[in-house]
């Protein structure tokens, strides 16, 4: 559990920095790197950590931006795509979460290739 927390925290910090300079998919690369460097028992745990971290990051940043804006733009964008504006923050979190999850899982699975001990598999 502790590892889960640390991994998530590192994704949060490095991901924020990377995305400030790089395109949106850089979050997946960060998650993959973190997944690769953290020794996980299985890739599902890594997936969960990556998903949780990026969901949290994307939804809370989007939530922060939209609350400062009184949801003015979110309402318009929701209207434009015919999505309830209330779903936009969770949907943003979910999309980010998938990137983080698959990123972290891919990193972990890459590490597994180089690991000698094959007693525990994903």
């Amino acid at each position: 559990m502790k590892k889960f927390g640390i991994q998530a925290l590192i994704i949060l910090i490095l991901g924020s920095i990377a995305q400030y300079f790089l395109p949106f998919w850089s979050i997946a690369v960060v998650a993959a790197l973190v997944g690769f460097f953290f020794k996980y028992e299985n890739s599902a745990a890594s997936f969960a950590a990556g998903t949780a971290a990026v969901t949290l990051l994307w939804s809370s940043y989007a939530g922060f931006l939209t609350s400062a804006n009184a949801s003015q733009l979110a309402n318009q964008i929701g209207n434009l795509f015919q999505v309830g504006p209330g779903y936009l923050v969770p949907a943003t979190g979910l999309i980010g979460g998938l990137l983080g999850g698959f990123g972290a899982q891919t990193g972990t699975l890459l590490r597994k290739i180089f690991e000698k001990d094959d007693s525990v598999s994903a």
């Binding site: 940043y61 733009l73 434009l80």
Partner: protein, 820 residues
């Protein structure tokens, strides 16, 4: 096994990224016809929803406005820009060039997408970014020679050192902003539509200017008028389309002497017969929607004894607005007003000495010529007895989503481009001759520099000499008392009736005989009546030595305005604001009275009588919560269509001129038994009485259900929407609760109306009020997107903060930018 798992996960990840990075095309059913589908493109989801790069970044809050500094090595001096609570920039610069840089910078900061879109629309480059939906616009704009006209303007402006310096500084300001702009900060429309801003240049400014020209001096009905004469014959044509309205109250007071000997007209052949029926489908025109009011009252009529000036230009209302408000302060001058994003300077405003404003003149400066080709391939045409080669220009258009460009061939004659072209042997090819293709005065943009440096009447007149088109009624007031108005611009010298209809293009004699000298344009200073005013009506009474025409002259607002200003005394700024918001219409008062006189009340039942009594008690005001305007307009339309059935019957098959409203009122009042009132579909011979009565009955029937609804009223019926520039509904405002009417001073009609309302009380301390229906920011996610919309709807005003200097602390500064 491990490798397979890894590869599977990697593939899933890459697939996800790929999917999130692709634009998605979706087909949505059209609201008015669900069996048809509109293709629309959803932006790539990943970059669009990422809170680090996507639309969330455009969700602006007040906290985002943190003062900052930028370093620009080329600046001559320092600039400070203070933004007031409504986000109006107040630019403090050491010279006008630095101020132009700052104006470019802040305009780009708030209106980049608008500048880009407008210049693309005018230059025929929409399809590059919106795909095939933009192609129709692009083909037409290029065919109409917008790009050509803009190139000519650029070449001319280059001749002026002063204009070039200002344009270069403005471009540099816009480009500084664009260069510093990170993709995450692109206006949200770029993110939605998936393209990015290009560097700005003088050509783009010229295209924005062409866009204005097209809005303001593109009006004509030559094809429609030709057909009306051909179809109706001389007598009926003359009856329905007289050029002089005896009731007209022109801009220059009737009886004003012309103290010049007019420039001589060249000998001309009499005007041609109609050239034959013209079948071309006329391109969409902004017909009848453009209008404006301006006036200045002298100290003799005001409470304070100082002049008051007012101006409200009526244009298509959009979000963001056509206008961007700003103040510029230099050691030389200090002025405040509204600018058009993309063009440096202020077009309507005031300084510490004078105030000025504009309305459109509307005199016809576009004529059409029938081309007689001498060969099948249409490469040469007859001209003055010889054969002349046309210039063949092949335009290419990139279309987003299509691999190959689209080509269009445009034939240019000496008259101008052949806009209407057909392969049918009995369809005439028509060339456009438009003032907007003429090389403008190299110093035309300096007109406004001259105005905001003006200290008196002489400065004002001197400034106007540089101005060519679109012709405007420049109203003027000076704090010590002078008021003036000048219908200013290039007016072609024409023979009587010339240019009302399509002319034969094989003779140069049918061209314009030069232009009215600027010293002979209609103008008046300090007229006896104590005020000057214009509302797009005729510039002069018929005694003016030069012939001019337009089927777009106003016949109601101008007369009412002159009448009201004549009556008013001890005028205050408050009175002027009320006058701008006045919903009274002479169209209703004169039209309804004439129609009611014809109505046979004996045929009415009790319900119909109650409708009649509503109309009889109406004050002719198009207020938002009244039902009478709905009844009147519905009845009027039916009455008009039935009276002019001999014209209406052609409307859908060929271009056809429709008689003006005032003429129907005049015929109803003066000759109700005229043959024109006969309904051709019946064997009986109707008069105004029968058709007024039958259309009234039809009106009460049509509105019977609506009139029972408690919320039914003028604003509900008419619907006023302000659309986003790219027509994105989510960024638009619908169904605003406003009154007003196209033929009332408060000329709100559908999506058009007062795009800026300004009242200036002149004096040692200038006091001014103003607003436009929108806000300073073009960002739909900004708190400044629709700042003043509610106030505009209610007819309220902002007192404008005319700062005395950079340290003026009478009102708070929200934010500031320093340029070193």
């Amino acid at each position: 096994m491990k490798i397979v798992k890894f590869l599977a996960s990697l593939a899933a990840l890459l697939g996800l990224i790929y999917a999130l990075n692709m634009p998605i095309t979706v087909n949505t059913p059209l609201p008015d016809d669900p069996t048809k589908f509109k293709e629309s493109v959803i932006p790539p989801i990943g970059p669009f929803v990422s809170p680090f790069t996507g639309f969330w970044q455009n969700a602006e809050s007040l906290d985002d406005f943190v003062p900052y500094k930028i370093e620009v090595p080329d600046m001559k001096g320092k600039v400070k820009i203070s933004f007031d609570e409504r986000m109006v920039p107040h630019i403090f610069a050491e010279n006008l060039e630095d101020a132009a840089f700052a104006q470019g910078y802040v305009t780009a900061k708030f209106r980049l997408f608008q500048m880009d879109l407008v210049s693309r629309a005018a230059g025929g480059r929409l399809a590059e970014v919106v795909g095939k939906d933009g192609l129709e616009n692009d083909l037409l704009k290029r065919r109409q020679g917008m790009a050509y006209g803009a190139e000519k303007a650029v070449a001319s402006w280059k001749q002026s050192k002063e204009a070039t310096a200002l344009l270069d500084a403005y471009n540099a300001g816009v480009n500084k902003y664009i260069t510093d702009l990170k993709p995450k900060d692109y206006p949200v429309e770029y993110k939605l539509m998936g393209f990015k801003p290009e560097p700005w240049n003088t050509y783009k400014t010229a295209l924005v200017k062409k866009y204005m020209d097209q809005t303001l001096c593109f009006g004509e009905d030559d094809l429609e008028t030709s057909n009306a004469l051909k179809i109706l014959g001389d007598d009926l044509f003359k009856k329905l389309f007289p050029e002089i309205n005896p009731k007209q109250s022109p801009v220059i007071p009737t009886g004003t002497p012309w103290d010049f000997s007019p420039a001589k007209n060249k000998e001309k052949p009499a005007i041609q017969e109609a050239i034959g029926l013209i079948h071309h489908k006329v391109y969409e025109k902004e017909r009848g929607i453009v209008g404006s009011n301006n006036w200045a009252v002298g100290g003799g009529k005001t409470l304070s004894g100082k002049p008051i000036l007012a101006n409200d230009p009526h244009l298509k209302l959009t979000l963001p607005s056509i206008w961007f408000e700003l103040q510029i302060h230099t050691p030389e001058t200090n002025f405040y007003g509204v600018s058009v994003p993309g063009i440096p300077g202020v077009l309507i405003g005031f300084n510490e000495h004078v105030a000025w404003g504009e309305t459109n003149v509307g005199i016809d400066v576009m004529d059409w010529y029938q081309i007689s080709w001498t060969d099948q391939a249409k490469t040469s045409y007859q001209y003055d007895g010889s054969v002349k080669k046309a210039k063949i220009v092949i335009d290419s258009f990139r279309v987003r989503g299509q691999a190959l460009p689209v080509y269009d061939t445009v034939r240019w004659t000496d008259w101008g481009p052949v806009v209407y072209e057909s392969n049918k042997s009995d369809w005439a090819d028509l060339a456009m001759h438009w003032i907007g293709h003429e090389s403008p005065n190299s110093e035309e943009l300096l007109t406004f520099v001259g105005l905001y440096k003006s200290k008196n009447y002489e400065d004002y007149r001197k400034a106007l000499v540089n101005y060519d088109y679109p012709a405007q009624n420049f109203v003027f007031a000076e704090k010590n008392g002078d008021i003036a108005i000048t219908a200013n611009g290039l007016f072609p010298i024409k023979n009587k009736q010339q240019g009302r209809m399509v002319q034969d293009g094989s003779s140069s004699k049918n061209g314009w005989a030069g232009y009215v000298p600027k010293s002979q344009v209609p103008a008046t200073k300090n007229p006896k009546r104590g005020f000057v005013a214009s509302a797009n009506q005729h510039s002069t009474d018929p005694s003016y030595p030069f012939y001019y025409n337009s089927s777009h002259f106003d016949h109601f607002r101008g007369r009412y305005l002159n009448q009201r200003l004549n009556e008013m005394d001890s005028i205050t700024a408050e009175d002027m604001k009320q006058l701008q918001n006045d919903n009274f219409s002479l169209h209703a008062s004169e039209g309804l009275v004439a129609m009611l006189k014809q109505l046979d009340t004996a045929q009415l039942n009790t319900v119909q009588k109650s409708v009649l009594s509503k109309l009889r008690n109406w004050d002719f005001r198009f207020d938002k919560d009244k039902v009478e305007p709905v009844i009147f307009v519905t009845w009027w339309d039916k009455y008009y269509e039935m009276a002019f059935d001999e014209v209406m019957v052609w409307k859908d098959s060929v271009p056809m001129l429709m008689p003006e409203k005032w003429r129907l009122i005049e015929l109803t009042a003066n000759s109700p038994s005229d043959l024109i009132f006969d309904d051709k579909k019946t064997p009986e011979r109707e008069t105004a009485k029968q058709i007024a009565t039958s259309t009234f009955l039809a009106t009460t029937k049509e509105l019977a259900d609506d009139l029972l609804k408690p919320n039914f009223n003028w604003s509900e019926f008419r619907k006023t929407d302000i659309m986003h520039l790219a027509r994105i509904p989510a960024f638009s405002k619908f169904n605003l609760p406003v009154g007003g009417y196209g033929q009332a001073l408060n000329a709100i009609s559908g999506g058009n109306g007062p795009s800026w309302r300004m009242v200036v009380e002149l004096g040692d301390e200038m006091k001014a009020w103003g607003l436009f229906p929108g806000g300073q920011s073009g960002n739909p996610g900004s708190p400044f997107y629709t700042t003043d919309l509610d106030k505009w709807v209610k007819g309220e005003y902002n007192e404008l903060f005319f700062m005395k200097n950079a340290e003026d602390k009478r009102r708070p500064t929200l934010f500031s930018i320093e340029i070193n």
